[in-house]
Amino acid sequence: MDNNKLYKLSLLIITVAGLSFIFWWLGNDPSSGLRIRVAGEDNRGAGGILQDVNIGEIFNNYSSDYDSLSESWPRFRGSDFDNISKSPVRLIDKFSSEDPRIIWSVELGEGHSGAAIFEGLVYILDYDEEQRADLLRCFSLTDGRELWSRGYNLNIKRNHGMSRTIPAVTDDYILTIGPMCHVMCLDRETGDLRWGLDVAREYESEVPLWYTGQCPLIDDGKAIIATGGKALMVAIDCETGEKLWETPNPSDWKMSHSSVMPFTYGGRKMYVYSAAGALVGIAADGDDAGKLLWSTTEWNHSVIAPSPVCMPDGRIFMTAGYGAGSMMARLSENNGEYSIEVITKYPPRDGLACEQQTPLYWNGHLFGIVPKDGGPARNQLVCVHPDDPQKPVWTSGPENRFGMGPFFIADNKLFILDDDGTLTIAKPDLQRYIQYDQVKVVEDGHDAWAPFAIANGYLMMRDASTMVCLDLNR
């Protein structure tokens, strides 16, 4: 074979090999072995079927004797929505050898619902695991005797507890929201049913994850419920059950665990609410009651438990867990038009944040317990100035860490409950963390997350399964 033939043959072989390689390379998909992760691989069900519930069908009457007292803690965060007791009753700041003075205790269904107190009566929405029913239970504050209960049959399963809300109580009415968004309005004195509303059915609302956490509001005789679904918020006449107004919800913002906070700014009363989707302000009165005055989708998280902290100068502080962090915003009014501007927004490790409890606003400062994903300050009580919520004025230090339990101020003392039922008394201070004392109240306690209620020196607190009445009178 001469060189020319050899050259041509080599060229042919190289060409064929090259073309083969190009065809192989173009036809080969290096990602063919990868599995595409798409929705639906968990075989998720169609969702829970709405149960037919006869709200108020159960009534148990046990007793009518109780000691009438002078003070009340009638709803979530107390009379003034600030979680600060204004009672003149002097409370202990040190636990003696007799403490904790547990006056009475009662076993409850697993949950985190808190008590409201009205002039010697304690109201709590419990889930009775044996009877499988939501029950509003009424106890005598001084001795724990159960007076009556009213509720309805409902099948639910444990989902990090069952009950989570606090009733709203006035002279005339008691208003509750159950785990599956059933609203029940009762006559306060008799426990008679006024009316009921199945929010999930009527407004096609999505029941929040781990069940409803929104505490209901009674304002000027109106039940205020943030429904999500077909309406964002509704007002219902407590006396008749008649709907007074509904706020449209074109953006389909959803119900969160946050509660509605009344706020008056620029001469206008409004309801501030952190829906899953946006932070909103809704006109509370006037001809346009129920109108959306302002909103911002800058605050848009899927799980929000704390409620808005509204400050007199128009600033609103929002915080949430699950990595959401916090936001400080400023409300402005111009000729009756409202707008909201975000001042700062940051992740939980960069400043004051809370996962479950609403921060306290006291003496121009904010106090809260940083969540577990809050970096070095995790689980510490932190005090910040609203001008810079990312710069702690002080922290309680790594030796004083807390959980997701409640904290509030009464008799100028700061009470903090740890997850395991340990109660701490500290001094509310703007310079540093000063701890007075600490005592274990609930033995083997866990998930003690329900907000406090206090009246006449009796503190109502609970862990996941036990509610206790603690005498804090000095």
């Binding site: 798409v38 075989n43 998720r44 994850l209 899927s302 699950y322 959401a324 577990k372």
Partner: protein, 192 residues
């Protein structure tokens, strides 16, 4: 007669010898196995209560992928729909779509059980020990997901490379007979 008797004795002697040899061999093997099982050998293991989910187990182990894997203490799990160990914070939707999942290798399988419960199963072959799920579960859940060194993968290096870089000294030598610190069963490491 005498010859038969001699033959029988020889046979019995051989049989006895074989029996004795077998018994000795069996005894030796058993003794060796017993000594192995009760010998105070040590292996490396993670104390899940000390772990800060820094991510170095994925990058500093001499094995590729790491011998550290996520394990699941089912008795601690809440079986939540929104699982902080499975979903990214503020996930668009609670679905199995890739954009919602925290795990970079899809090593967690999510299965619907019944309303409102979901089960989360770790695929050890896919897990690289990055601890992203552990961080999410610890921060937002019950902490049922946690890291452990898997001993059929671990080379048990005398100088464990991840123990050297662990910022919280969570990796310690434990007795080989108690090689795992599984949460739920394990509440306190006796040597810590």
């Amino acid at each position: 007669m005498e010859s038969k008797s001699k033959s029988k004795n020889r046979r019995e002697f051989i049989q006895s010898g074989v029996r004795l040899s077998l018994a000795l061999a069996l005894g030796s093997v058993s003794g060796l196995a017993l000594s192995r099982s009760i010998k105070d050998d040590y292996v490396w293991q993670i104390d899940p209560f000390e772990c800060t989910q820094c991510g170095r187990c994925a990058t500093d182990c001499v094995m590729t992928p790491s011998a550290v894997k996520c394990v699941h203490a089912y008795d601690l799990c809440g079986y939540c729909d929104l699982c902080g160990g499975y979903f990214k914070p503020d996930a668009n939707e609670l679905t199995t779509a890739a954009e919602n999942q925290l795990c970079p290798t899809a090593a967690i399988e999510r299965k619907f059980i019944e309303e409102p419960y979901f089960e989360y199963i770790i695929n050890e072959d896919l897990c690289i020990g990055c601890a992203k799920c552990v961080k999410g579960c610890t921060s937002f859940g019950n902490g049922s997901l946690h890291l452990q060194i898997i001993h059929d993968i671990c080379l048990n290096c005398n100088d464990c490379s991840i123990a050297r870089v662990c910022p919280s000294d969570a990796i310690k030598r434990v007795k080989a007979t108690e090689a795992y610190n599984i949460k739920g069963d394990f509440t306190e490491n006796p040597e810590s």
